[in-house]
Symmetry: C2
Subunit: 244 residues, 2 copies
Amino acid sequence: MRNIKLTIEYDGTNYHGWQIQPNAITIQTAIQDALTKITKTQTSIIGAGRTDTGVHAAGQVANFHTRSQMPLISFQKALNATLPRDIVVINAEEVSPDFHARFSAVSRCYRYTILNRAYPSALLRSSTYFFPESIEVRDADTACQSLVGKRDFSSFQRSGSERINSICEIYECRCWQDQDLVYFEIEADAFLRGMVRAIVGTILKLYDREDSVNQLHKILDARDRSVAGASVPPHGLSLLRVKY
Amino acid sequence: MRNIKLTIEYDGTNYHGWQIQPNAITIQTAIQDALTKITKTQTSIIGAGRTDTGVHAAGQVANFHTRSQMPLISFQKALNATLPRDIVVINAEEVSPDFHARFSAVSRCYRYTILNRAYPSALLRSSTYFFPESIEVRDADTACQSLVGKRDFSSFQRSGSERINSICEIYECRCWQDQDLVYFEIEADAFLRGMVRAIVGTILKLYDREDSVNQLHKILDARDRSVAGASVPPHGLSLLRVKY
């Protein structure tokens, strides 16, 4: 069987996240349905990151096994012709039989984008979080950088989610501004559910206080979701890339 | 009566263009309805450019007269709270009584954005025209620049539209590339209906032929829409700014 790796861009606005669910339209369902139609065989697909409802992806990665002999470029074209326009396959490549989009990944990188000005945007309304309060970007960046390393992130895990191992290693975490847009980018070996949105929401509410790095680490040490800040909404978040 | 000038950003995807029409939802209708609700008086608004169905705006300008004493910032906030999220007032200012958004304008500038790569984009699908064929950007730019000046543009006027004066003066016209995106920008004193989309569509089909500038000017001189190329679709077009 061939093992094919896809890189996928999607606008998550109209989907209940990546993962298959009963009675809800998800990205995984849409791609599996398209693959099943194209290969005429029930085909399932493994994703690198389970993005939540409303979260986007610029570079989600997934793989599937198939007996189809269709050339890669035809797979990509057939998928893009079959999928709804808010899901696009940007690359298709053949990988070794043991490649697993989720377990082979060494890191995932998420970006959170904030529109930071006095009035909202019509054109960016689905891809940025409109936050008109002032942001001390330099302080936010310092707080971000203090998260690099291996830590227990249970304070930033969505309550109700049951991940036994809540240790994640953050490789890079930064915040910067480009005109009206403020970006947070976090690269880690793994993420807990809702982790990026909880971290960004917490930092946004910390920045203007003295000693924000210590405060952030007190929240981390508490290992209790209720001490961290409210999560920012999903539509500012995008799975940027996955490394193997 | 106060005369208030608004600068407006909109995603034209779900509208039948700017101008009021019976039995169709337009941007002008949406804004007038919001103003009427806010001021509790039937209020009409004058727009600088009549964008077509599906065309966007980063900086449409409009004005309206009102007896309301509401501060400008409250007008802007009330409008943004009342309008659907795909229409945003980015600025509101008081102007002299004789200011007329359409007749006082000295120029309008439109931008057309093309996604020029082998596969489409999920995130840019509503704001760019996916055109996978190669574009000779330098030649397209030369053709663009040859349009600067005062000319009869009836070859690029939508058939069926009845503008008596088809002379427009183009102040600036250029084409450039930034990674996967190719931009066309045209600034002129006035535009005929469908003019930008007809010019871009024509240039896209000219570029690879020798003597493209002469060819373009032969089309201009014909003053006949049927000799020009097919128009590119509306969703790549945006009214960028209006000068007074």
